[in-house]
Amino acid sequence: MLYREAGDFKTSYAADAQTFPLAFDRWGYWVLLALAALVVPFVVNDYWANALLIPFLIYAIAALGLNILTGYCGQVSLGTGGFMAVGAYSSYKLMTAFPWMDMVSVTLLSGLVTAGVGLLFGLPSLRIKGFYLAVATLAAQFFLVWLFNRVPWFYNYSASGQISAPERELFGLVLTGPNAASAVQYLFCLAIVIALAWFARNLTRGTVGRKWMAIRDMDIAAEIIGVNPLRAKLSAFAISSFFVGISGALFFTIYLGAVEVNSAFGIQKSFLILFMVIIGGLGSIFGSFAGAAFLVLLPVVLKLVGVDLLGWPTTIVAHLQLVVVGGLIIFFLVVEPHGLAQLWRLTKEKLRLWPFPH
């Protein structure tokens, strides 16, 4: 009834090729953005912002980045945690070496540094594929974590090896450090997420994205029709690392404020983000958000229901959380291997016919 294209006439190619061809979708998108940008910052409290929304936005960026590489270009990567660490440590070095630099530049430059590192570790992808590439990126993960632990220059020779974000302002508002208002931090992350998601969406439906997908589907065929595998694969690595680097930078500067490379950017982070991409849906922008939301929110929801509502012991809930999340991952992989994004797509197909299916 509501969800249909009847009467929604397209009169130009631009209108025909837009991201949300259905008016209902389009409106939904704008309403969601308006809610996120104009309403949420005024009602959000510290707990909602710091425990749910900010981590969700930051993980969504990382999932977008990995989705570009794995979902669109078909290159499996287990180095996401290491690349996030590159983003975090570059923003730390930039913030401490150039105290006058604004946070937008710090974040973008950290992304660029990570893109460079990603490019370097993407080189083996020209020779090796599949599981072998996964192993090569795994090496990147361990090497980068080891590097940030081993070379004191990266953590400015602090006694504990921890890095902590100094206080910085943006437009006169405190953005990093303990005195920052959570609404400001949320808005900063939201702005970056919107910009990056828009960038990713338009990249993936243009020439660059089509080349990636051609490589993913069959690299020899892609090469025969004129796709340069070198440029396609390396651009995917660079852009993916750019996204992941920005998420690592925000993870450190905005979300945690102090990190230790082992616990924050270990191998489990790489897996977490890979799970987000797989559960959300490979090769889908919406899927990156859905996957991030699923894995960030689910544990917190389980905890709220188990501990606060039902009054169960925290141990039981913590163990149950592992069981439920693990079970759901298997369930999704069996029932819907294309992830939450495919589920959403099917729902939309059904909604178009509702209430008169043929």
Binding site: N45, D46, Y47, N50, A51, P55, N149, A159, S160, G161, Q162, S164, P166, E167, G177, P178, N179, L256, G257, A258, V259, E260, N262, S263, A264, G266, V300, K303, V307, P313, T314, T315, V317, A318, H319
Partner: protein, 426 residues
């Protein structure tokens, strides 16, 4: 406007007594690779507060409300727990994790909630002029490192000249803390320090101990936690490293660390900041009022063990600080700010420990604005594998203040400069 606020505040306070409670969040970890240490500590911490509730109806007539939150020793979950509990009126945080402590130092400063990191966390927080609301009495890592060296000096007739000492440490903020002090002490006493890092969680240490077998250091000092301790002690036994030359810090000296190695661990040494005696009167009361009535936080099997005792000792110090705060402010239902004043005025004497049913459980110390670190004393204990108990072999040993005070000063002032803090007493 101001009068209105005062009026509202007064009205809330007047209305409050019916609902008044002292909120103590317990950021525990009963899951993950560090649960073996987290469980007894948290049990001891909670059981003591439950005892006060059951036996005395709280502190100063106000009941204590415990909020447990599982962190799994993970910093992200620690932050979530902090955000979830801080608005409940939390009086003091004790996260039992150096990583989470580093996370919370700036946050608690901004929110004005005190944090007590007993024998862990950031060592230089001992300087209360910079870290107004962070306390790490009765002892901190640098004290621990110095006590270990002082013990070894004693064993070697006052000279460690030319000795080889290896530090096996957890490769994290926690394990790296003592390095600075040990380097300074190595320069002062002329011993050679080698550093061997073990990565989280510490199950794989073969290469570390092969290296020790080759280097043959005179002593090994260990800064370990969780499963790393058991593995290290087992590996040390495998290469037949003499246990009497192997000293763990106070987080590497609990029953569950040594028991897996069986008789081979006999004679293993570790530091401790509290004495261990399962027969203390306070434990009998816990057995009677808490475990007997089924109110225990855990299964009650840890009462009197090393980490249970330490958790209970942490709770005891917090309860004493609450009493002190009630005394100073003349109010039973205290706030976090009052709690901070109470902690800063805390004094522990032999008589008070006796009154509390825990004679000699910890060192005698007092806290002041300049010194949030207490006396820094610790003792050395030896594992008796046949009896299954840790036996103290020294009294409380004082650290080398000559080395530590300047280091604390330097590190805390660097923090103050970085974060724009004006050092001073309130």
């Amino acid at each position: 406007m101001k009068t209105l606020t005062t009026l509202t505040a007064a009205a809330t306070m007047a209305a409050a007594p019916a609902l008044a409670d002292l909120v103590i969040p317990d950021l525990s970890y009963r899951t993950g690779p560090y649960a073996a240490g987290g469980i007894p500590f948290s049990d001891g911490y909670q059981d003591y507060f439950t005892l006060l509730n059951e036996r005395d109806g709280g502190i100063g007539g106000v009941p204590i409300r415990l909020i447990e939150c599982e962190t799994a020793y993970d910093t992200e979950k620690g932050v979530e727990c902090y955000e979830a509990t801080k608005d409940e009126g939390a009086l003091v945080y004790q996260p039992l994790s150096t990583g989470i402590t580093y996370q919370l130092i700036p946050k608690t400063a901004a929110d004005g909630i005190p944090m007590h990191t007993m024998g862990y966390g950031r060592t230089s927080a001992a300087n209360g002029e910079v870290f107004n609301n962070i306390f790490n009495y009765p002892a901190n890592y640098w004290d621990g490192a110095s006590v270990a060296i002082n013990y070894l000096l004693d064993e070697n007739d006052g000279s460690l000249e030319g000795k080889d000492i290896a530090l096996v440490y957890h490769n994290s903020a926690y394990g790296k803390e003592p390095i600075r002090t040990l380097e300074a002490l190595a320069a002062k006493h002329g011993f050679i320090l080698s550093q061997l890092a073990v990565d989280h969680p510490g199950q794989e240490q073969r290469s570390t101990w092969v290296q020790i077998r080759q280097q043959r250091p005179d002593y090994v000092i260990m800064w370990g936690w969780g499963v790393m301790n058991q593995v290290a002690i087992q590996e040390a036994a495998n290469i037949r490293f003499p246990m009497e030359n192997f000293i763990g810090n106070w987080w590497a000296g609990a029953e569950h660390d040594v028991s897996p190695a069986g008789m081979a661990a006999d004679g293993y040494l570790s530091l401790n900041m509290n004495t261990v005696d399962p027969e203390l009167p306070v434990f009998d009361e816990i057995r009677e009022h808490v475990i007997g009535s089924g109110e225990a936080a855990g299964d009650g099997s840890h009462v009197g063990s090393v980490l249970y005792t330490r958790g209970m000792y942490a709770a005891m110090l917090a309860a004493e600080a609450i009493r002190k705060a009630q005394e100073i402010h003349g109010e039973a239902d205290i706030t976090a700010a009052m709690m901070r004043d109470g902690m800063e005025a805390l004094t522990m004497t032999e008589e008070r420990m006796l009154e509390l049913g825990a004679p000699g459980i910890g060192p005698v110390f007092s806290v002041s604005c300049e010194n949030h670190g207490g006396s820094g004393q610790a003792l050395v204990q030896r594992w008796n594998a046949a009896e299954g108990v840790f036996e103290p072999i020294t009294g409380f040993i004082s650290p080398d203040e000559e080395v530590i005070v300047p280091l604390v000063e330097e590190d805390s002032l660097a923090y103050a400069a970085e974060n724009g803090i004006e050092p001073g007493c309130a």
